[in-house]
Amino acid sequence: MDSPAQYLHWGFILLSVPNLVVIGLMLGLFGAALIVPFPTRNGPKSREQKQ
């Protein structure tokens, strides 16, 4: 793991693959968190009391 990383060189942009993985993971996590439905225990029929 100590040998230099691979880099993506696009124009003036130079990003390491590990950093790209982290950034990609973040975007993926954010997108997934927005899209994946949150499990509600009893489904839409559950009518909790209004407070």
């Binding site: 793991m1 230099p4 990383a5 691979q6 390491s16 590990p18 950093n19 899209i35 909790e48 407070q51």
Partner: protein, 322 residues
């Protein structure tokens, strides 16, 4: 907000049981597992530090070239300016801003004496030849010393290494080559690391001398270049080896890659000479904008215009909103 105010705020909102502590407990366990797995599988970056000794051994010519510039007072550190000394070589100003000058000298560093003369004086104890060379150099006039040092610096461009010594073409250098080769030997033995660290105190935690000396040379930067850690390689974001770096510094390091910060002759009074100050000012302003988003019209309305929130509260909008 009191309980009564909250009841009003959530008046038409359905409240559901929610176990905050269980959520935090699960998150804590989950993160612990993730971190243990990452640590076990990937370990962490830990490239051993460079020492004066390793530098002098790996690149004796660069070491001697740097040491010569230190003695001549022409190295980056010797010519730096505040906080180390009163010179101006690395002083940055931007328009009316001169914070480096205003702050003044607070951490006095005297490279010719601290990095070269004093260590040699300590090494000269019991070494009459070295003591004589040192006396010859220190006893010469300033002009004579400069002449020797200038000639030797130029000759070093074609230096060779033989038997642990740096040799140059014949010339009028006075005792300079002998002094520098003595310093080189001291450095390779590890003695100079110790002398630079504890020069005037027993308990040492301040590595300013060693690091300034090393930074003035090309060896440290060469190693950094291999790992793409230098300023024009988005280096601030990167890490040694195949590890993620500090991706959150992307905006700061971006500055060093774009005009005018990366140009010798930029514009608006900004160029590579004052890039550190200019970029810090720019990023500070942008950061202030981020801090004050709630109070900036337009910026604070972006979430309304680009409705990512319709995904965040999808269920609310579709099922619950009356």
């Amino acid at each position: 907000m009191s309980t009564a105010d909250k009841a009003t705020y959530y008046r038409d909102i359905r409240m559901v049981p929610f176990d905050l502590f269980k959520e935090l407990a699960l998150a804590t366990v989950g993160v612990l597992i993730a971190v243990i797995v990452l640590a076990a599988v990937f370990s962490s970056p830990d490239v051993p530090p460079v020492t004066i000794a390793s530098w002098a051994t790996a690149d004796p010519v660069d070491f001697v070239t740097t040491a010569t510039s230190e003695l001549a007072g022409s190295s980056t550190s010797a010519d730096y300016g505040p906080p180390y000394n009163d010179n101006e070589g690395s002083v940055q100003t931007l328009w009316f801003l001169k914070p480096q000058s205003w702050a003044g000298v607070h951490n006095s560093v005297d490279p010719p004496n601290e990095f070269v003369v004093r260590p040699l004086q300590q090494a000269a104890v019991g070494n009459s030849a070295l003591m004589a060379d040192l006396s010859t150099f220190l006893g010469a006039s300033v002009d004579q010393q400069s002449a020797w040092l200038d000639a030797y610096s130029q000759a070093l461009a074609d230096a060779k290494v033989a038997n642990g010594q740096v040799t140059v073409a014949a010339g009028n250098y006075g005792p300079t080559p002998a002094l520098m080769n003595s310093l080189l030997a001291l450095a390779r033995s590890g003695g100079l690391d110790g002398l630079l660290l504890s020069s005037d105190q027993f308990f040492a935690t301040d590595y300013t001398g060693s690091l300034l000396f090393m930074g003035d040379g090309s060896y440290l930067g060469g190693l950094a270049d291999e790992q793409k850690l230098t300023g024009d390689q988005w280096g601030m974001m990167n890490e040694t080896g195949r590890y993620p770096g500090q991706a959150w510094l992307w905006l700061y390091t971006l500055g060093y890659q774009v005009h005018p910060f990366d140009q010798e002759h930029g514009f608006l009074g900004i160029n590579s000479g004052n890039a550190d100050l200019a970029i810090t000012v720019t990023v500070t302003v942008l950061t202030l904008v981020l801090v004050l988003v709630p109070f900036i019209p337009g910026l604070r309305d972006i979430p309304r215009w680009i409705p990512v929130h319709r995904l965040i509260w999808r269920r609310y909008y579709s099922e619950l909103k009356p």
